[in-house]
């Protein structure tokens, strides 16, 4: 049952199979592409600030899929049908979290290579950037899922979720981008720890949110 659900969720969200699901990755590269145009082609400046830009691009890209993440399936009665078959909301949300991360984390990591080339990020910085994103994207996905579930029953939910994600993602951004400035792997440990905590909480928070959404 869980595997069937995971396959379905992945088909919904994965780039090029789901509807418009490649958008976050394309958007991510587009932001990285814009930056040199905006600040000029100074290789030194770009190498210094580029890592932070990639982090901001990743954060913005994480906002894009939120609209469809939970609200659509609530409207479809999809979670209700699963509930009737005895599945807990927490399990549905855990599967959704995994599918969401798989459809957004790894593609983003791959897209970091062209983005890094555009921003002249190389060597050790690129390594730290990739490690940081690998540690941070599960956390971003977890925040996104919680917010999507909480705002699913609100009319202005989509716009609100973007606003909510930014402050909640700040710790990940600070430690993730901070690791680049100081070339310090220890803060990546913090990113990983924050991510783990968020991933552990998210299915419960999101599950409670979709249960509460039924009551109104």
């Amino acid at each position: 049952m869980i595997l069937t659900l995971l396959r379905r969720d992945l088909a919904q969200f994965f780039p090029f199979t789901g509807s418009g699901a490649a958008l976050p990755t394309v958007f991510f590269i587009a932001v990285a592409m814009l930056f040199p145009f905006a600040v000029g082609p100074d290789a030194n400046l770009m190498a210094k600030t580029g890592g932070g830009v990639v982090w901001i691009a990743a954060l913005l890209a994480a906002i894009l899929p939120l609209e469809k993440l939970v609200a659509r399936d609530i409207d479809l009665g999809f979670f209700d049908q699963l509930k009737l078959r005895g599945m807990a909301e927490e399990a549905m949300m855990a599967v959704r979290l995994l599918a969401h991360w798989l459809s957004f984390g790894p593609p983003l990591l791959l897209a970091t290579f062209p983005a890094a080339a555009l921003l002249k990020i190389e060597g050790e910085t690129l390594r730290l950037l990739l490690l940081g994103l690998a540690a941070g994207t599960p956390g971003l996905a977890a925040i996104g899922l919680m917010i999507a579930a909480l705002t699913a029953s609100l009319r202005a939910g989509a716009a609100l979720s973007g606003l909510l994600l930014i402050p909640l993602a700040l710790p990940i951004l600070i430690f993730g981008a901070g690791a680049l400035a100081r070339a310090d792997v220890a803060s990546l440990g913090f990113v990983g720890a924050i991510s783990l905590l968020l991933v552990a909480i998210a299915p419960f928070a999101a599950g409670a949110a979709i249960r509460a959404a039924r009551e109104n």
Binding site: M1, R8, S19, L76, D80, Q81, L84, R214, E215
Partner: protein, 205 residues
Amino acid sequence: MQAAKPSLTAENLACRRGERLLFRRLSFRLEAGAACHMTGANGAGKTTLIRAVAGLTTPYAGSVTRAGTLALLDERSGLDPDLPLGRALAFWAQIDGIGHLALENCCDRLGLGNLIDVPVRYLSTGQKKRAALARVLGQGASVWLLDEPLSGLDTASQGLVSDLVREHCQGGGIALIASHQPLDVPGMTSFAIEDFAPAEAEEEA
């Protein structure tokens, strides 16, 4: 699949929507083979009752006891709009653990055979309803909760729903049906949800 005998009991049930009390002191008991038809005006609380009985919402007061597996049909089909009908139904068939052949039989029974390759979002209201009925039929649950199963269906399909409910109940199943239209099911009990609406004085209290 059905271990014990199915039964569905509501005791002293009360539900509200927002601040408004919709009904109270509603009790019923359905045993294996029973069909029950619930009538009521729009907004009287039929859907609210069905969802409370399904365990999706918590009733304001009272309790629901269920034995057996549940199937729910409401205005939301639960079928992915972007997928072809066959694949959308196949997902639920996989979840419910029924085979390809059984699913095909359900589709044929509901006249969906030639719609298998059509994306769900292109289906008409009636076709979607029949698709959702195929999902319910395929699920093989012992308790059917049908919210407006006849709305949007043509006369022939309406007769088919009555047939399906009759067969389900003859096979020892339970059906609770909320509908404005009559169903042709022998031995079906019925009640009007308005009979349980609170008196005005009571509502203000």
